[in-house]
């Protein structure tokens, strides 16, 4: 029994935080958010070299061979800094290949993903906007040896930057398939969409006669439905991890404002009407940490409870980040409504984070079912 991070893990956290404090403070975040790419290629290369991108990729394929406990630490810090990058997308692509690819596929793609020389993403969501394997409607037709895709995927994260796209679709009698396609393939086109949070980019993907060669299919172990749920689950846990840091960042800004801003000859943080909502936010974030850390441990240790734990973590995270954003803005008063103050950046992030890989409506229902209701 030990619910604490190890010294090595704390060291990782400090390293990540130090680098992001220096290289990616909120002024830099604003700059990157205003840039066409939305992230810094240079910084991306640097964290690739530092091994952050390949943290969970097996050492044999150029990664760090660490677990989600470490990843949660990394993501908490990127969430806290509102770090703009295709990190989660690349991570999900690499996880899919690691978990469901064969050795050749791993050799082919993972080393590049581990150092960030290629960027990956997951193309899952469709018109129905439902984060569940049953909701996949995209259907491939057979053409000789291979499969051909015609259709659309929506809200594909970081699609403009991505080189490799993990696509989920059906074929033949409706069986689910997962494949890795190159974004430069013939017939692939991307329509970027306007994000509320300019640090999180996405777009719609149109596939017109895109060929899926047999060696692009990820077919290893287990049912495709389970594999897809597994990937979505990883997305949910990654997002919940970022939410921990983002909510802490919003709280820290607001606490500082409450100490600095005076009204009626007092810092506003003196009034219970201000301090109590902040205490509630703190309580919620600490509660969320317990859920997220346990889910990561369960994932790394093959615990049966991982699906339930992940849904609990993401459901609660979606609620926490929504409230933390609103509380932050409201307690800032009029300046919270300006572009100048940073709290709005966190509010905008909450609009991204609440629904991503399923909101609380989705995950509480899932948790109810997993819990036997």
């Amino acid at each position: 029994m030990n619910f604490a991070f190890s010294e090595e893990q704390e060291f990782l956290r400090n390293e990540v935080r130090k680098l992001l404090d220096t290289r990616c403070g909120l002024p830099q975040v604003r700059e990157l958010a205003a840039s066409p790419e939305g992230y810094s290629l240079e910084l991306w290369g640097q964290i690739g070299e530092l091994g952050w991108l390949g943290l969970t990729i097996p050492e044999a394929y150029g990664g760090g061979g660490l677990g989600w406990e470490e990843l949660v630490i990394l993501l908490e810090e990127t969430g806290r800094h509102l770090f703009p990058s295709p990190l989660i997308s690349t991570l999900l692509c690499a996880e899919a290949i690691t978990r469901f690819g064969n050795d050749a596929q791993r050799q082919r793609w993972l080393p590049d993903l581990a150092i960030g020389s290629r960027i990956g993403t997951l193309a899952f969501l469709e018109e129905s906007d439902h984060w569940s394997a049953d909701a996949v409607g995209l259907c491939a037709r057979r053409d000789g040896e291979g499969l051909v895709l015609d259709g659309e995927k929506r809200f594909v994260q970081d699609i403009a930057a991505a080189d490799l796209v993990v696509v989920v679709f059906r074929c033949d009698a409706g069986e689910l398939r997962i494949a890795v396609i190159e974004s430069g393939s013939d017939g692939v086109s991307v329509q970027s969409r306007e994000p509320i949070d300019a640090t999180k980019r996405f777009g719609d993907l149109t596939l017109s006669g895109v060929r899926v060669p047999p060696d692009a299919l990820l077919e290893g172990g287990g049912s495709a439905t389970q594999q897809i749920q597994e990937i979505l689950q990883l997305g949910a846990l990654a997002t919940a991890s970022e939410i921990v840091g983002t909510a802490e960042g919003a709280l820290a800004l607001t606490v500082q404002y409450a100490k600095d801003r005076e009204q009626f000859q007092q810092p506003i943080g003196h009034f219970q009407g201000v301090k109590h909502p902040l205490a509630e936010t703190y309580m919620e974030i600490e509660t969320l940490k317990s859920l997220v850390y346990f889910a990561a441990w369960a994932l790394d240790n093959g615990d049966d409870g991982v699906a339930l734990a992940t849904s609990q973590a993401k459901a609660y995270a979606s609620e926490v980040i929504t409230r933390a954003g609103v509380t932050g803005i409201q307690l800032h008063g009029a300046v919270g409504y300006t572009l100048e103050y940073d709290i709005q950046l966190y509010l905008k992030r909450s609009k991204w984070a609440r629904p991503m890989y399923g909101d609380e409506i989705h995950h509480y229902e899932r948790a109810a079912t997993l819990g036997g209701l």
Partner: protein
Amino acid sequence: MDFDFSPEEDAFRARVQSFLDAHLPSEFDARDPDFLKQWNRALGEAGWLGFAWPKEAGGGGATIIEQFILKEEMSARRAPPLGSDFMGLTWVGPALIEHGSDEQKQQFLPELLAGESCWCTGYSEPGAGSDLASLSTRAERDGDDYVVNGQKIWTTLAHVAKYIFMLVRTESSSRYGGITCVLIPMDSPGIEIQPIPNLSGEVSFNQVFFKDVRVPVASRLGKEGEGWRVVVGALANERSGISEATEKLRHIEDLEELARKVMRGGRPAVEDPEVRRKLASFRTRIAAMRLTGMRHLTNQLQGRRPSSETSINKLLRGQLEIEMDAFAMGLLGTQAQTQGRWQYLSLSYHGTVIGGGTPNIQRNIIAERILGLPKD
């Protein structure tokens, strides 16, 4: 009690409706300047501008109920309610009529009634937000002029306004008593305007800096040290908040439409029992807002002092904005992370909730003034 309107009032409502049928397009962009200009002219010609003002001052001499009906019908159609000079018509005009000199009235009122002026008002300062009485922009007497130095913030429309109606401190020993109201052209030397983009990146607020701005004493409105009295105003303006209640009614209608359109768990969201109950709960509170507005209206009609209705509706509205937004975003699902009308609202409602006193200020007002609990 009587929630019916008289035949005359019903006839008046019909008149407003025909005006709207004739002059308000079914689709319009409330931020398009051409549309606003045309709409403004139509309002002026029909006599709706200054409709609440006394006839002697060139206004429409409308009753409180007529004002109520006019506002309700306008907001029911989402019309820009009082033309583009909302501050001028609602706050400045009535204050001029009550406290202005003949010269001031002649100078400003005709322009206001023609829909040709544009006023901003300067109350808040960086150090005086919820606590207005601590304002510190000074006006020092120098011969026949005041010399104004200081800074205003959250000044809506200052970047387009022709005049500012503002509070300055003419005496520093008294918190409320040393405050005076002055009227200043925005092109006076020494005024510098700095727009404040809001979180959606649009400019609606400004900071206004005053450096040795000379204002003739004749431009003072009311007596020195009586700025509060001037601002509080006394004209028989309809203040039930009916426009806000009607706006929320449009909001819930849109939300119901959204709930019919989007899916949840494979079925239209509107079939989810919680969605139905939530929508009904919003509608209930919005219905109550309108009714509470009518209680306020009744107090005004009967010449009674306004009670707590305004604070109640502000507090309730803040609660509704937050809940309705979280609900709308939940209906939108992943769609919430991209730009759109609902998402725009989701950022901009925060201005509404904070504007005119944060929810905590409303709670203090109720707790201290009505329930008699100790002051902070």
